[in-house]
Amino acid sequence: MNLALKDINYHRFKFFSSVAGVSQLLMVVLAIGGIIRGVIYDSAIIITETGADLWVVEKGTLGPFAELSRMPEDYYHAIEVIPGVVEASPLVMAWEHVVRPPRPTPLMKFMYRNAVLGTKTMVEPGWMDVPMEQRFVVIGSKPGRIGGPPRIIAGRGIEADNYEIVADAKAGFQLGERVRLGYHDYTVVGLTNNMVGLTADPVIYTTLKEAQQILFRPDPDLLRDRRRRFQQQFAQAATIAPRLADGLAYQASTVAEDTHFINAIAVKLEPGTSPDAVAQEIGRWKRLEVYTAPQQVNLQLMGSNRLILLQLSLFRVVLVLIAGIIIGLIIYTFTLDKVKEIAVLKLLGTPGRRIYGMIFQQAILMGVLGTLLGGALELAIEPFFPRRVEATYGDIGQMLVAMTVVAVLASVLAVRRAMKVDAQSVLGT
């Protein structure tokens, strides 16, 4: 007969309420792990879904995700002819926003109410009334080349310049909705699933040309001012050749309006081609920097996200330790409650390993059940987080192993207490 299970059955409310408490703590631990994975996933998703082996960017910059990179659009032709390169796709990507009516979350509302009541919170009154600026990552690519919208869950992709966009479902747009971007309205023709940037802003896909219009087209007032200045500069020439001066001013103005820049070139290689070898070849070229896909991901993780990831990881470790301490204390109090029974068991000649085994088994069971319940709770609450939280069964498995070890260590104190119980304490009392 298993004494640990019998005791648990007898004290089932106490045991399972303790398990419930531990499971909630472990749910938080697993959720933090899920948040960390979410950040990593969000940082990598554009890169991995693009399917590029190499990312070519402006010399001396870290790439389109971590730093501003600009280069002439036509560079991709030169890369495409390098041996081993299957495809070189010019890409434009930058942040853009639209102003939408406020859409506060229930949590924000709750915190807002607290603020109104005078409770100190992170949200000040009035913050809620500000119209929400919804940020996006706009990615433009040539239709049919890599870098276009993957994971389309509704509608279709983009085949030509037609003032159309494919947006991620997280943006909240509906198919057919008209969205003002830059100086034009765009129609939402498709929706993607979970395509976000490293800051979790949803991605909007459009054609290269239209993305350049959205992102790079100068302000009309600025253009008018530039035209006026060009005309002034060419005023002297107008006295000699009036028609030539007008033409020159027009040409200069056109150059100023030029939006034929790109931020990166995504390069797809032939199977079996060494990315490093091709990167070296491109690097020899003028004014270009080349990163492999893993390097690009790493630049983001070890750049802007490094500290927050380290912070969360450390917090997670602290919580695991706290969970261990809590399990240890619970098991210790369980053992204190059983001192008399342990003394009787010892007097009846029960081997120590069986008594201590009972304590270990209860601690391990508490850790295991707490982890499984915590894992189930975490998976249940994941969809309600505003950002991606992605704990896996692997995480739960790892947590099971960790909590088993922690539970064994945590029960050492209780076992030490049980070892001190003297069998003679039940005789003569």
Binding site: Y10, H11, L347, G349, P351, Q424, G428
Partner: protein, 240 residues
């Protein structure tokens, strides 16, 4: 004559130097199979220490202890825990049943500890509960039993490993006189029917008429020994 328990010149001291206290002072004791033997004495007389030594819980400082003819402390290192679970049964003042085990499981526990499991163990456990007239309470937890029922289950547990000696520590102290007497008569029946020697430590002078022999301890020494034949029929043999 063969004795189940034989103690010779048992000495037990605690502490050292000025703090040294001699609790047992060369105590001799011999118990026959099937004998119901009572140990009486005031508080501090050494009853509990004697019980602990006889129960192989603590070792005597000096002297010899034989259990079933085997010299326990003859220099060889013995597994006292094993000897305890195989040869001795215990009955306590408050039954001390394991609260999270049913009456049946409490009786099965000593059987399991000596390697008797499965159907054989269950059958034996139920026989014992039946013998003690608590078979119908087999699936109840100790908290669901009356004081008398608990003590009967405790006796069944003490009998489970078929010990040659049962040490009973104030088995009637928590019961009213009627139930206490009933338990003592039960112990009497057990000792005579099963041949198990039963050593009872008790303060309860009303129970003395049920035992075969009584020794009285004062300051760690036997000051009086009364056998059934020498005891007056109605009066308590020993009074505090």
């Amino acid at each position: 004559m063969e004795y189940v328990v034989q103690a010779e010149k048992l000495v037990k001291t605690y502490g050292e130097g000025h703090n040294r206290v001699e609790v047992l002072k060369g105590l001799d004791l011999a118990v026959r199979p099937g004998e119901l033997f009572a140990i009486m004495g005031p508080s501090g007389s050494g009853k509990t220490t004697l019980l602990n030594i006889l129960g192989l819980v603590i070792e005597p400082t000096e002297g010899r202890l034989r259990l079933g003819g085997e010299d326990i402390y003859n220099g060889k290192r013995r597994d006292l825990q094993r000897l305890r679970r195989e040869r001795i049964g215990f009955i306590f003042q408050f039954a001390n049943l394991i609260p999270f085990l049913t009456a049946r499981e409490n009786v099965l526990l000593p059987l399991e500890l000596i390697g008797v499991r499965g159907r054989q163990a269950v059958q034996k456990g139920m026989e014992l509960l039946d013998y003690l007239e608590v078979a119908d309470r087999a699936e109840h937890l100790p908290e669901q039993l009356s004081g008398g029922e608990r003590q009967r289950v405790a006796i069944a547990r003490a009998l489970a490993n078929e010990p040659r000696v049962i040490l009973a520590d104030e088995p009637t102290a928590s019961l009213d006189s009627e139930r206490g007497l009933s338990v003592m008569r039960l112990l009497r029946k057990l000792s005579s029917e099963r041949g198990t020697a039963i050593l009872v430590v008790t303060h309860d002078t009303r129970m003395i008429g049920e035992v075969d022999r009584v020794i009285r301890l004062i300051d760690g020494q036997v000051v009086d020994e009364v056998t059934e034949s020498t005891a007056p029929s109605e009066q308590p043999v020993i009074q505090h």
